[in-house]
């Protein structure tokens, strides 16, 4: 019962964090489900040392990283090379209904390194404070600010070149 409540409360937030990072719906769906399976398994060991959503976000970030690593191993290609596949998924048929500018934004996000992409997503879309992101990804706030700064510059460069 508690787990069902937890699912209802966090499924959309978790899904969108993953979707904005991985962009492809099928990938995001698979990872989001896996996140909640892991939450279900680990729930008895949750000790309340952090906020529940921080804990779940941490699991989600780990699962995204695991997914990207698995894809790399599977296709023997750097994740950034998958940006073409992601670009193709930014069509109306594949669950994208934005403007051309928004398409450019997501194409630029897709080309970011893995960690920058996660940090950018949490900061820009979810508007999480650096302190919270720091607790989720286990990186210092300074490093996160630098990571976000680099991500923004890269996105700007990509969009302007575009």
């Amino acid at each position: 019962m508690a787990f069902r409540l937890l699912l209802e409360s966090y499924r959309e937030r978790v899904y969108w964090l993953i979707r904005r990072t991985l962009i492809v719906h099928d990938d995001a769906d698979d990872v989001a489900q896996e996140v909640f399976v892991r939450v279900w398994k680990a729930l008895p060991s949750f000790r309340g040392e952090s906020a529940l959503y921080t804990w779940i976000y941490r699991i989600a970030v780990n699962e995204v990283n695991r997914f990207i690593k698995r894809k790399r191993l599977l296709f023997f290609t750097p994740w950034n090379d998958a940006s073409e596949r992601i670009s193709q998924s930014l069509t109306d048929d594949c669950g994208f209904s934005g403007t051309e500018v928004e398409r450019k934004l997501f194409n630029a996000i897709a080309r970011l390194p893995q960690k920058q992409r996660l940090v950018f997503t949490m900061r820009y879309f979810d508007e999480l404070p650096y302190e919270e992101i720091s607790r989720i990804v286990g990186t210092s706030e300074g490093a996160l600010k630098a990571s976000y700064h680099h991500a923004v510059r890269k996105i700007e460069k990509f969009v302007k070149a575009g």
Binding site: L7, A32, V37, W40, F96, R123, F125, Y148
Partner: protein, 157 residues
Amino acid sequence: MKDKLRYNPGDSGLPLSPKANPLRVPDGYFEAFDQRVHERISARKKNRHLYIAVVTAAAAMLAGIGILFLPGLRNDVPESEIIVASDTANTITGSRLVDQILADDIIEMAANSDTLFLDAGLNWGDMGLKEVSDETITEYLLIEGVSTLEIAMTNDY
């Protein structure tokens, strides 16, 4: 510092609101999401039961194999010693093997000789053995590296 690093989408003509979400999900996706998660959990439970069954069966099989071969494994044989299987399927160690070979040689010599070379309380006749001559024994001992002096001394016994 925070504000400086905060991305201002307006600078690049990007969507002004970070909340803008052009990504879409299939209709009813989130309503069916819970069900899919529960199905995945159920599948994992089944897999776990299967895994436990397989591991238990494997452990039982290994234990069975261990019990079958335990007598052979119980011999505390140093690595330097060779384990040889005899015709009777018993195993003997290297040091025992040397003793066995020597005994076999002596018995073979005894069987091919005319005179008994040793009487250590055994009734060779009962074993179907023939006597070994002194010359044969001397010859054998010389081959084994025993000096003639030692052989001469043992003749006194």
